[in-house]
């Protein structure tokens, strides 16, 4: 980087890290280095405060009472929905359904929208790099209906084989479910192009945005996807809250996922008239605090400026990639040209779990395992990898500590 931006200067002065109280602690005698951001990100004070304030001052049930607290809770909850709408550039807030997370969002679409429309022999297309949460719900839908699952291959560096993907699509393809960014490899998929290809054969597309949302700016209208799913906790918000966005016309024609309170217009024992969007899909008391916390996380991310974040994270990714490569014996798995800051790597003889334990001993938190992507691991012919996933609150100095610790791992096994 030729010129150091004010944002990077701010980070280097430690001003962004101070927003995250959890980062300031010792682990096994060393300052914590948190490199497991693809599993879940840490929360800024503003998100923690939003949860505390809600429970301290505004807690009530939404959309029910006529009293002041209920009105406040409802306003905060719906304001969070509007923040989500702006964040993903959706046309209408009512198209943004609050769910528990990406997994629930995908299950909702698979069971309520896709399965009832599938006929035996019709096809759903996925990619080789999907997370289990974007595989298993589709397998369940196929099992229920006799439809078939097709898997688009990836190259050895972890990029989708676009030609093969296109060849796999036909008038028989009813639905396509693809990740915008791979949790295991970091690969950013050309989803806009893939959506265009899918639409050309008449298939609808769900984009799994769990790993993309914390790093990339999302515009569901520009992508032209039909459904978009993401989780709050992977983008600095609380756990247990996520979003399913869907085109209004599609959501309108989808049967409700769960029945209960909140999702009805009129109930008799003979018959129920469902509520409109988004309530139709939000049966029961929702995760009100979680939604408000997610809204606070969106505010926080936007206050940093998503472009600043992307530039700095790209810089960290390059720095970390070189740092890992500089330690002899480690190989990076997944070397796509376009990546979110996620680096999977392996050592010739040392198992990722042993790497993970030794790094933890140095205060460095990484993930080791199959990253809920066993079919991908099989394809790459590894049982597991070690994974470093970065955030804008990470620093060059932390990456240098990683490189030193990776050297130490080798010494333990020397």
């Amino acid at each position: 980087m030729s010129k150091v931006s004010p944002f990077i200067q701010k980070i280097e002065r430690g001003e962004v890290r101070t927003d995250f109280p959890i980062l300031h602690q010792m682990i096994n005698g060393h300052p914590l280095v948190y490199f497991d951001n693809a599993a879940t990100t840490q929360k800024p004070q503003s998100v923690i405060d939003a949860l505390t304030n809600y429970y301290s001052h505004d807690n009530s049930n939404v959309h029910r009472g006529v009293h002041t607290l209920s009105t406040r809770a409802t306003q905060l909850y719906e304001a969070a929905r509007e923040k989500v709408r702006r964040f993903i550039h959706a046309p209408f807030a009512r198209e943004c359904i609050f769910v528990r997370g990406t997994t629930e969002a995908i299950n909702l679409v698979a069971q309520s929208f896709v399965a009832p429309r599938l006929l035996p022999g019709e096809e759903i297309v996925l990619t080789q790099m999907e997370h289990h949460s974007n595989i298993v719900p589709w397998q369940m839908a196929c099992k229920k209906t006799g439809a078939l699952l097709k898997v688009a291959p990836i190259s050895i560096n972890g990029e989708i084989e676009l030609d093969e993907f296109e060849k796999m699509l036909s008038s028989n393809t009813k639905f396509v479910a693809i990740t915008m960014a791979s949790n295991a490899l970091g690969t950013i998929n050309p989803v806009k192009k893939m959506i265009e290809m899918a639409h050309a054969v008449g298939a609808l597309v769900l984009v799994d945005g769990a790993q993309a949302a914390p790093h990339l700016s999302i515009d569901v209208q520009d992508l032209n996807c039909d459904f978009f799913a993401f989780s709050g906790h992977k983008m600095y918000g609380p756990t247990g809250i996520g979003v399913l966005w869907g085109r209004e016309s599609l959501l309108d024609s989808t049967i409700p996922y769960q029945g209960g309170g909140e999702m009805i217009q009129y109930v008799t024992f003979e018959k129920t008239e469902y509520a409109g969007l988004p309530s139709k899909f939000e049966a029961g008391t929702p995760n009100i605090a979680g939604a408000i916390g997610l809204g606070a996380a969106i505010d926080y991310l936007c206050s940093l400026n998503l472009n600043n974040v992307a530039v700095y994270e790209a810089y960290l990714l390059e720095y970390a990639t070189n740092a890992i490569r500089s330690v002899k014996g480690y190989n990076i798995v997944g070397t796509a040209a376009n990546k979110v800051p996620v680096i999977s790597f392996v050592h010739g003889t040392i198992h990722p779990h042993d790497i993970g334990t030794i790094l933890d001993n140095e205060g460095i938190a990484i993930r080791s395992g199959h990253h809920c992507a066993m079919p991908l691991m099989d394809y790459l012919n590894v049982t597991a990898t070690a994974r470093v996933s970065l955030s804008f609150y990470n620093t060059k100095q932390e990456i240098e500590r990683l490189a030193e610790a990776l050297q130490k791992v080798k010494e333990v096994f020397a």
């Binding site: 040392i350 198992h351 990722p352 779990h353 030794i358 001993n361 395992g369 066993m374 049982t383 096994f413």
Partner: protein, 148 residues
């Protein structure tokens, strides 16, 4: 701060690098597959039994240093033992990894080198995978066991 050498003792490093009895048995009395879905570790344990005595025992598979060393040490420890002794040893071994009791006084010989694992709760399953697989084999169930 935890001392890594408590976990990765020389004997463990050695058994990881040169696992003992790391082979198949062509006509085993019984065999079982073990699998740890957390890390993808897989192994198969083979047993040759006669008159309730472990005549031969071996394993193959892939896993971390702890799971491989533990499997290797297990096969060494069990050869020539009765099935009853094998069960008892597993119980003592499991107790060593999951209790706070003094290690001294536990009659499990070489297996105490794995005592360091108790300070790493996330790794206990690595150390017990081979043993759970053995238990499955002894139950003569040709099924995949899981540590979950």
């Amino acid at each position: 701060m935890l001392d890594l050498r408590e976990l990765y003792q020389e004997i463990i490093i050695d058994h990881n690098r040169n696992p003992r009895n790391f082979r198949e048995i062509s006509h085993p009395t019984v065999e079982a597959k073990g699998y740890n879905p957390l890390c993808g570790d897989k192994l198969t344990v083979y047993l040759l039994l006669a008159d309730g005595i472990v005549q031969d025992i071996s394993f193959i598979g892939c896993g971390c240093a702890i799971s491989k060393a533990s499997a290797s040490l297990m096969t060494d420890a069990l050869k020539g033992k009765t099935v009853k002794q094998a069960h008892a040893l597993f119980e003592q071994f499991h107790h060593m990894l999951t209790s706070d009791d003094e290690i001294q006084g536990m009659n499990i010989d070489k297996l105490t080198v794995l005592a360091g694992v108790r300070a790493y709760p996330a790794r206990v399953k690595c150390a017990t995978l081979a043993w759970h697989t053995l238990e499955a084999a002894l139950k003569k169930q040709k099924v995949v066991v899981s540590t979950e």
